[in-house]
Symmetry: C2
Subunit: 439 residues, 2 copies
Amino acid sequence: MTEKFPGYKGEALRALKEAGAGIGDKIRVMKDEEIYQGVLIPRSEFGDDRHLVLKLNTGYNVGILVTKDTKIERIGVGAKPAFSTPPLPKQKENLPRVAILSTGGTIASRVDYRTGGVRPALTANDLYSVVPELSEIAFLDARILFSVFSENITVEHWSEAAKSIAKFVKNGVAGVVVAHGTDTMGYTAAALSFALQNLPVPVILVGSQRSADRPSSDAATNLIGAVKAAASAPFAEVAIAMHETVSDDSIIFHRGVKARKCHTSRRDAFKSINVPPLARLKDGKIRMLTRDYQKRDSEKEVIVEPRFNEEVTLIKFHPGMGPVIDWHVENGYKGIILEGTGLGHVSNRYFSAIRKAITKKIIVGITSQCIWGRVNMNVYDTGRDLLEIGVIPLKDMLPETALVKMMWVLGQTKDFTEARKLLSKNIANEFSERTVFGD
Amino acid sequence: MTEKFPGYKGEALRALKEAGAGIGDKIRVMKDEEIYQGVLIPRSEFGDDRHLVLKLNTGYNVGILVTKDTKIERIGVGAKPAFSTPPLPKQKENLPRVAILSTGGTIASRVDYRTGGVRPALTANDLYSVVPELSEIAFLDARILFSVFSENITVEHWSEAAKSIAKFVKNGVAGVVVAHGTDTMGYTAAALSFALQNLPVPVILVGSQRSADRPSSDAATNLIGAVKAAASAPFAEVAIAMHETVSDDSIIFHRGVKARKCHTSRRDAFKSINVPPLARLKDGKIRMLTRDYQKRDSEKEVIVEPRFNEEVTLIKFHPGMGPVIDWHVENGYKGIILEGTGLGHVSNRYFSAIRKAITKKIIVGITSQCIWGRVNMNVYDTGRDLLEIGVIPLKDMLPETALVKMMWVLGQTKDFTEARKLLSKNIANEFSERTVFGD
């Protein structure tokens, strides 16, 4: 019987049975002065026995506590998945070939309301059925690389993705699109920026903040933008394609090493930090926003450096911080990125721990938790002291990019001096000469 | 001899002696194709033997590597401190009484070019001599609380400051100004917001991004704004006063729990996150920007709750993170703030560590590293799983404020259930009902 109600038990299950409502049914829940209306969806195995979960019309899910005063009414059958029977694709052989690799995340999945399961939906057929415009832009080769929420993406996924992308690039595609959950898309974009060098074509990561089965979804617009860039953008770099504003007017391309998710839910969540974005798609045209970029060039041959070392950490300094630096030193870590305050400071309480780390040939780099601006260790005593101790100032590099770079650097070399040098060297424009907003 | 050159040794000392240049002298350093001109300042005890440090005309210090090809020329005597002999203040008894408490930082210090020492300059005399306008706004009572760079501010400083401020408030001042380094001013503002409740008058934290001895300093404008607000603003809350833009046109007041330093060097580094700022000072007038605020009310009596518990940590989740949660659990921590991705996620690799923490009655709250927006744990499986495990979603609260609140909550109660409840309760408008930029 509970198979009809996966995840439900106790009070919640009893109330649902009483109402004659099952998974996928449209129901109305009345409690106190609130009324919720939506489609009943299954719960996770961790579920307690007192909540039920509805997918509201807005597309958001909501958990509702069931008490003895809660009334449930079945008001109909939930909508079926919007694209259950995709039409046959009309692949046009004369269009640029674009590979779409799916790693999971909102953009690459669809929810089956009947089972509640989220499954990757990234066959070329699926894509054409959801976004028919794509068939006018490119000849697609769609593959599922992984199927994970992006918070579960690991260093191994970065390596795998880099190798797969390189294969497609070597096979002569006009560009590669990587569908990715937005949560850690910035980290992955940075990883691919370091791992894929000398690219002949663009590699575009794309996500969405609303799944494709929601009316307000940004998935289609972002995908179109990403495929268009992969097919024909003049740049050959790793970039992130997302909404530029909350409207659908333009898609903005952020350089992979300089982008950051800066809002939990807005469609324009990603921002280029300390630099202008790479390019903009508006009115069907892609326009470069900087002169300083790697140009598309089919003569180039991609170089893959897919090794990352996980013995690296990011420590966000804060008042009252404990002996976190010491713990990493004692546990064999090889690289530490400090997210310091202001121009690149941490409390002098940690000077001895940092000195110890560096004595043990652990590489310590510093960035700023301000996010915008650049570290400058010459202004205050604290900065000068940290420099003397041997901390490497990482200019205007994002803390998240710095972490990924440290992992990549220590995947390239175990030599202390060489690794320090590589960390400070500009590999993928992760350092910019001047900040746009600086003064 | 080296007393004339504190901190200098080796090659750098030799070159300085050769040039006949000493601390406080204006010198010109020529190397390769670069020429530096500025005042020679002393070095820290951590100094190596190869660099010298100049204060440039821009006010920034620069460290210069001395090689055998470096030429040094003494070109004059450095400027003396600009305000060595302050005139007598003209305290006007009929003006509102404002207490100015100095904790250190750029705004409250001046550099003595002769000794290179930074010393607090916050006597009322000093203030009037630097910013004579203040004598028209308030009758000042200036005190030095501490004299530390703000990265060295600890939980104990927060408690001390709260108690001192409360004393002045109880003595009937019209408002209190706290001069503070900008690096951790957001953390201290949050701490004071929780520690000082039912305030009858405003408590204004103020910093500056350029020290008062620099031509482009924002110190005077910010101080005037802060003193004006303390003397006469209609709100009675803890706020941060800084430049609203890079121009001197307006001073903006951020609610203490909602402000964050978002740029390493800009004068408008502080931003209100997820809410409009509290108030603006423009053309001499303070205008409220929200209706939802605590009003100035001399009938109120301040309640001081100055206890903070340091057994609390902030963990910024990232791909490839190590067993940092476990380390904190094993080492007796009582509260953990997770800075998750997106809507409030961490990798499922850490579910068991988090479950273990909560089983041990460690309080775990989650915020988002996006900074803008709010966590919503009902949208994806990961969020729902974390909720079931017992992680507390901290809505649109800043990660830094959440850390400070957790420290404060565990200073109020050791009871697990009560502490969890207090963490979720809105104490100082750290949660807002809707985000301004949300959609």
